[in-house]
């Protein structure tokens, strides 16, 4: 079921501005921290150290979490992760689960899997709830519904929650969602959360939200499942301070998220299960030239500043994590149709590198991929060959351009049988001039 909603001509501009506003907020918040360059260097050094000692820290985390009463599970891939979660839910007879934001479960496609086994999953972060109702993936890792206008959201709520038609006020829409989701929190038999940081020395998981949805999901139902990638480990509680000072400032320009919970072992009345997932991360670790990409804390700053992401939007990437960091991870972690070619879709301007709070040189990583293993899109290679052949034949080229200029509406509009239809699915061609440059100069000089 797709939205009945209409694309509006200024949507791209609105998205660009909304996303760049986050970047400006980030700038202000970071500049307020007197020592932020030192902080950034320190964060990068901790991540480099942690990745280099990852096996030891994973074992330490497992032992400490176990000692605190949590049960730790290990999953090699998305399939194993999903099966572990399903087994836990079936063992506890869970039919209704609430979930707070977790990009890992997007990566694992957990929701459709659980739903196919009869578990009703409710995403509780407002942005994630909006995209869940719209039956689409998040388009941003921090603000999942940033691509949607308020009238579209009002229409979605009207259809799914029977709210008044035509409601577009964000405060009232949020209130409707609050009422609906509160009853789902109270009904849920299990809560699943992501993990922002996992502290090895104490076996603590740290979960950050602004809405408080993770906290309700962790404290109301008796069963709490937390899914984390192996890259979420940090060594000590002291180290957490560094990352908490950087995360929210980089993400939204807040000094810290409204809620930051440190969870060590289960609550007295419940159970805590932590699922640690590889999902291709060890393959990234194997490559010393790309390993540092695993230091990412998923703040989204590189998305917000990226000239490509801002105009293309998250869905264009076809991966759960879009933007520069998504393009760096995709050739290994990705599974979408264009995963391997994403490093090609970059201007290499380096803006991502300049805002990364943990000092990942993203534009260099993108270049690394271009040098090495990233496979070019076969369609593109074909097209470039035709272009090269044509450009080597000036007379023919001019004749073809003459036809193209006049026949352009035939190519740029989607119609059944247009060979360019697939390409036009996600793109628009600019208006063509009626004459080619060459023709124009010729007619002027005549």
């Amino acid at each position: 079921m797709s939205l009945l909603l209409q694309y509006q001509p200024n949507d791209v501009k609105r998205h660009d501005e909304a996303v760049f506003d986050l970047r400006l907020r980030r700038d202000r918040a970071m500049q307020e921290v007197p020592d932020f360059t030192v902080l950034k260097r320190h964060a990068a050094a901790i991540k480099a150290h942690t990745l280099d000692h990852l096996a030891d820290y994973l074992e330490m985390f497992e032992a400490k979490a176990h000692a605190a009463g949590a049960k730790v599970h290990w999953a090699a891939d998305a399939k194993e992760h999903n099966e572990i979660v399903l087994n836990l839910l079936q063992h506890h007879g869970v039919r209704r689960m609430v979930k707070s934001k977790s990009m890992l479960t997007e990566e694992c496609q957990l929701n459709p899997f659980l739903e196919s086994h009869g578990v009703e999953v409710t995403d509780t972060d407002l942005g994630e709830r909006i995209v869940q109702l719209g039956n689409e993936p998040p388009s941003h890792i921090v603000v999942p519904a940033i691509h949607r206008r308020r009238d579209e959201i009002g229409e979605l709520f009207h259809r799914h929650m029977n709210t008044p038609a035509g409601e577009t006020d964000p405060a009232r829409l949020t209130e409707y969602a609050r009422q609906d989701l509160r009853s789902r929190f109270l009904d849920a038999q299990a809560g699943l959360t992501g993990v922002n940081f996992a502290i090895a020395e104490t076996g603590t998981i740290v979960v950050c939200t602004n809405e408080g949805n993770a906290d309700l999901g962790m404290s109301l139902p008796p069963l709490h499942i937390a899914s984390m990638g192996i890259d979420k480990i940090i060594p000590t509680v002291d180290d957490l301070a560094i990352f908490l000072r950087l995360l929210a400032r980089s993400a939204t320009g807040q000094h810290i998220t409204a809620y930051t919970s440190m969870v060590t072992g289960p609550l007295r009345s419940g159970e805590l299960h932590i699922v640690i997932v590889d999902g291709g991360r060890t393959r990234l670790l194997e490559d010393p030239s790309k390993r540092r990409a695993l230091g990412c804390i998923r703040c989204g700053a590189c998305l917000n500043t990226c000239p490509v992401y801002r105009r293309a939007g998250g869905h264009a990437y076809g991966e759960p994590v879009p933007g520069p960091i998504g393009s760096v991870l995709a050739p290994i972690l990705g599974s979408g149709p264009v995963a391997a070619s994403l490093p090609q879709a970059s201007t290499l301007c380096g803006s991502c590198t300049s805002v990364c709070p943990v000092g990942i040189d993203l534009h260099k990583l993108l270049l690394e991929w271009r040098h090495g293993t990233a496979k070019p899109d076969p369609d593109l290679r074909y097209g470039l060959r035709i272009a090269a052949w044509l450009m080597a034949r000036p007379a023919l080229y001019r004749r073809v351009m003459k036809v193209v200029c006049r026949g352009h509406p035939l190519i740029s509009k989607r119609w059944p049988g247009n060979p360019a239809s697939r390409w036009l699915d996600a793109r628009e061609l600019p208006e063509f001039p009626p004459m080619s440059y060459y023709e124009k100069r010729r007619s002027e000089n005549r």
């Binding site: 986050l22 909006i130 060590t264």
Partner: protein
């Protein structure tokens, strides 16, 4: 081989254990104080009262809580009720099911640490009595010693109570619950409290 062992083996094969930990962060000597904390708290949508003398606490708190509750249920941990004495608050046992607290208008809890740089207050799960209480209520009132203010997160985490990481959640709360998921418009009261009031208690 189990997934656990194969993951750990793959990690071991690709890492050398040569990169050292950079050590403790050289935290700049910021000065922290109740006024500084209040200033930050306001920017994150919170409110503040005080500092008040411990002997005056119940007298100051009563009208504030009654006004916010407007007839609704007011809950505080049992030990806190004892300290506050007579008032609109009723004690909550720490073994009642969280679902029984669904309709709480105002919750009064003790906070452990206040952080000047970000307006966050550290709340120990045991002070909330029931873990879900600070998130279910409409208004959250947190009582804090003015001496508990620290300048930044480095000192805040260094000051964690001994038993903070033991079968409990320890939560840093910065202002009320909020979201900006609809066209980046800030809305207060997404899932949790719609208001947060920090009450400073004077050191004797």
């Amino acid at each position: 081989m189990s997934s656990r062992d194969s993951i750990l083996q793959r990690v071991r094969q690709s890492t050398q254990k040569r990169v050292e930990h950079p050590g403790a962060f050289p935290s700049p000597a910021l000065r922290g104080g109740w006024r500084g904390f209040e200033d930050r708290l306001v920017t994150v949508g919170g409110e503040s009262i005080g500092p008040v003398a411990r002997t005056q606490l119940a007298r100051v708190l009563r009208p504030v809580v009654e006004h916010r509750a407007s007839g609704g249920r007011v809950i505080a941990a049992a030990s806190l009720c004892l300290e506050l004495g007579e008032g609109p608050w009723t004690p909550v046992a720490d073994d009642i099911p969280p679902h029984d607290l669904e309709d709480v208008a105002v919750a009064v809890v003790r906070g452990s640490i206040a952080v000047m740089e970000n307006g966050a207050i550290g709340i120990h799960g045991k002070d909330a009595a029931v873990q879900a209480l600070p998130f279910l209520c409409e208004t959250l009132v947190v009582l804090l010693s003015v001496e508990s203010v620290v300048p930044d997160m480095h000192e805040a985490l260094a000051a964690l109570p001994e038993d903070a990481l033991h079968h409990r959640h320890f939560t840093w709360v910065s202002g009320p619950s909020k979201t900006a998921d609809i066209e980046q418009t800030l809305v207060i009261g997404a899932h949790g409290p719609r208001a947060l009031i920090a009450v400073g208690i004077d050191a004797e």
